[in-house]
Symmetry: C2
Subunit: 373 residues, 2 copies
């Protein structure tokens, strides 16, 4: 199937929208949240479980797979879908974000970026062309151009250069990519500078991609600034193409961004905080390690229908967590993902009824601002 | 339901037998292998998965649960079945084995045993009466008397004392135990001394229990000595009561013991070696860390129908294991348990056909002696 995006409906009272994204491995309802399968696995979860709890699509990291086990091995295995036994759609990033965020030893040039492996310190050189070739080997349904991600805060001049380099790299990526089953998305940068964002969007859209990632957010900038810039950025993007806010995954930010017209999300947050004992509930966040829950025989969230909530008490999960039993991490991960998939399902229903703003408001008031800083 | 054991059939050519064990939480086909849920969880596995792969009954450790989260809390939760959400039969040990094997700081007296917690070094005193009261709170279907386990090798005098003390403790346990839904099993000791074993069996049987554990094996003694003593011990046990060989769990030893007339097994071995990368297969043991499997796209065991073998390659599982992904441990644990439950299912079929000896022989020849030392 050739990649396609159909915009089905936009909420009458805000930018929130419903769409269908057709990929080589199935059709996705948007907005969609993609759980992160860094090393070809969404941590602790089996693929059939992900399906069961509502995952439509997963993201995997080119940087990690390139280093271990290597894209050649995954190609030999028949591609990433077969290797990890996930027959639904997959998106891979370009490796750029990890190069710029994980290693402190990268050196960027027009040709590409030099970096040292976080595994063994070995030297590598990643070009836009290589990023595409590696992603061709992995075989995801949506792949991303190599972009330069700037930190926050950063000098305007640095951001300017990153925007220009990202544009040049985007052209080179598009030029070398030929696998029709894989949709190549462009990426918008520009930090917190409205004019740079606008320039980045307009020039990237000129190159013409079937979808657009919005990068460079959730790197430490204040939330209100992020949403202001994001609103501005979205206003310059074409209506008929999917918009993917990269790396944002806390429930309140997801709802805010859906309200502005974002269609796709990914983030390690829901799974990472679960492994630290923190879960989302219908009445706010809680950490299962808290002694309050030692003799609490209620479920994690009485309003939740997930496997963890239907079968186990807070007291049991706290016990498992405190003694270091992996089943605790499994069940908390399960719950957080279920919670988020369910929240986005409910969001889609609200958008269909043009009531997304009310839905968003009633959810967000249950959380404090600090809950998701 | 009151506890009961029905001997259904004994293989015409050896001691192997089929039975039904009726417990307060369901009926068990014997021979049975009980996976170990040390801290109220069979490591990494969810209870519905255990059922799916064929677990009939689980074992949990009184020592660990007494220390964390405490038997009072589990009682308050409604008992161990409810706490861990396992509605099938459960067996708890008395805590004795862990006191004598985990801590090096125990001191045994006729009244009970002083020991220090492996968690925080705190001092505790466990009496036969307490072992029963704790197990009453936990609420397992089968509970065990407190016994004194001797190490191997040990002086004959030490074993003699342990046998006598275990007999005295067994009487005290029986005296205080009153919960009808819980069947209290006696335990036979005696090390590798045939006459002490015989004395232990005869005196324990005289006290009269609905089933008998055989303790003190798999503590370092050579396999051939264990089986010789075991054969002798079994010959003194009543035919109409279940015989439980405590702590033995490698497939070859299980088959040998089934051939001698053992009905019940438990051991951490299958799950523990899985977490170290080692699995059982129909053609022998393998360790997934081995570089041989880096590009091996076959399943762990081509003859296995488990979830891991039906869905993932050795190359993928090796990748997960090498990068430290928990899903590897889950899938290897799943496979080893499935393999063992299946082996015992097949054993039951062979016994029903009076062909257990052939079945055992054809399995054991695929493994080398060192595989399970």
């Amino acid at each position: 199937m050739a990649f396609n995006f159909e915009l089905k409906h936009t909420d009458k009272n805000c930018g929130a929208r419903l769409g269908k994204m057709i990929t080589a491995h199935g059709v996705i309802d948007t907005p969609v949240f993609m759980p992160v399968g860094t090393r070809a696995v969404v941590k602790i979860m089996a693929p059939d479980e992900l399906k069961k709890i509502g995952a439509q699509m997963v993201l995997s990291n080119t940087y990690h797979l390139y280093l271990r086990p290597g894209h050649e091995l995954i190609k030999e295995a028949g591609g990433l879908h077969k290797f990890m036994n996930w027959d639904g759609p997959i998106l891979t990033d370009s490796g750029g974000f990890q190069v710029f965020s994980l290693g402190k030893t990268f050196k960027v040039a027009d040709e590409g970026v030099h970096f040292k492996s976080i595994i063994d310190g070995s030297a590598h050189f990643l070009t836009p062309e290589m990023a595409i070739e590696i992603q061709n080997d992995l075989g995801a349904d949506i792949i991303m151009v190599l972009d330069e991600c700037s930190p926050y805060p950063a000098e305007r001049k640095q951001i300017e250069e990153a925007v220009e380099r990202t544009l040049q790299w985007a052209k080179r990526c598009k030029k070398i990519h030929y696998v029709k089953e894989q949709a190549l998305f462009g990426i918008v940068q520009g930090g917190i500078y409205k004019d740079l964002r606008k320039h980045s969007v307009q020039s990237t859209v000129e190159i013409d991609f079937p979808g657009y990632g919005i990068g460079g957010f959730s790197v430490g900038e204040p939330h209100d600034i992020m949403f202001e810039i994001l609103k501005n950025t979205i206003s310059c993007l074409p209506e008929d193409k999917p918009r993917y806010l990269m790396g944002v995954g806390n429930p309140t930010s997801i709802l805010e961004a859906i309200g502005l017209g974002i269609d796709m999300f990914d983030c390690v947050l829901p799974t990472r905080i679960a492994r630290n004992g923190t879960i989302f509930t219908s009445t706010g966040k809680l950490n299962i390690k808290n002694s309050t829950y030692a003799k609490d025989f209620d479920p994690l969230d009485s309003n939740c229908n997930c496997y963890a909530c239907q079968n186990f008490s807070r007291a049991y999960l706290r016990h498992l967590f405190k003694v270091g039993e992996i089943l605790a991490l499994r069940l908390l991960t399960w719950h957080n993902l279920y919670f988020l998939f369910n929240l986005i399902d409910e969001s889609r229903k609200a958008i269909a009824n043009d009531s997304f703003l009310d839905f968003k408001k009633s959810f967000i008031k249950r959380y404090t601002a600090e809950d998701f800083e």
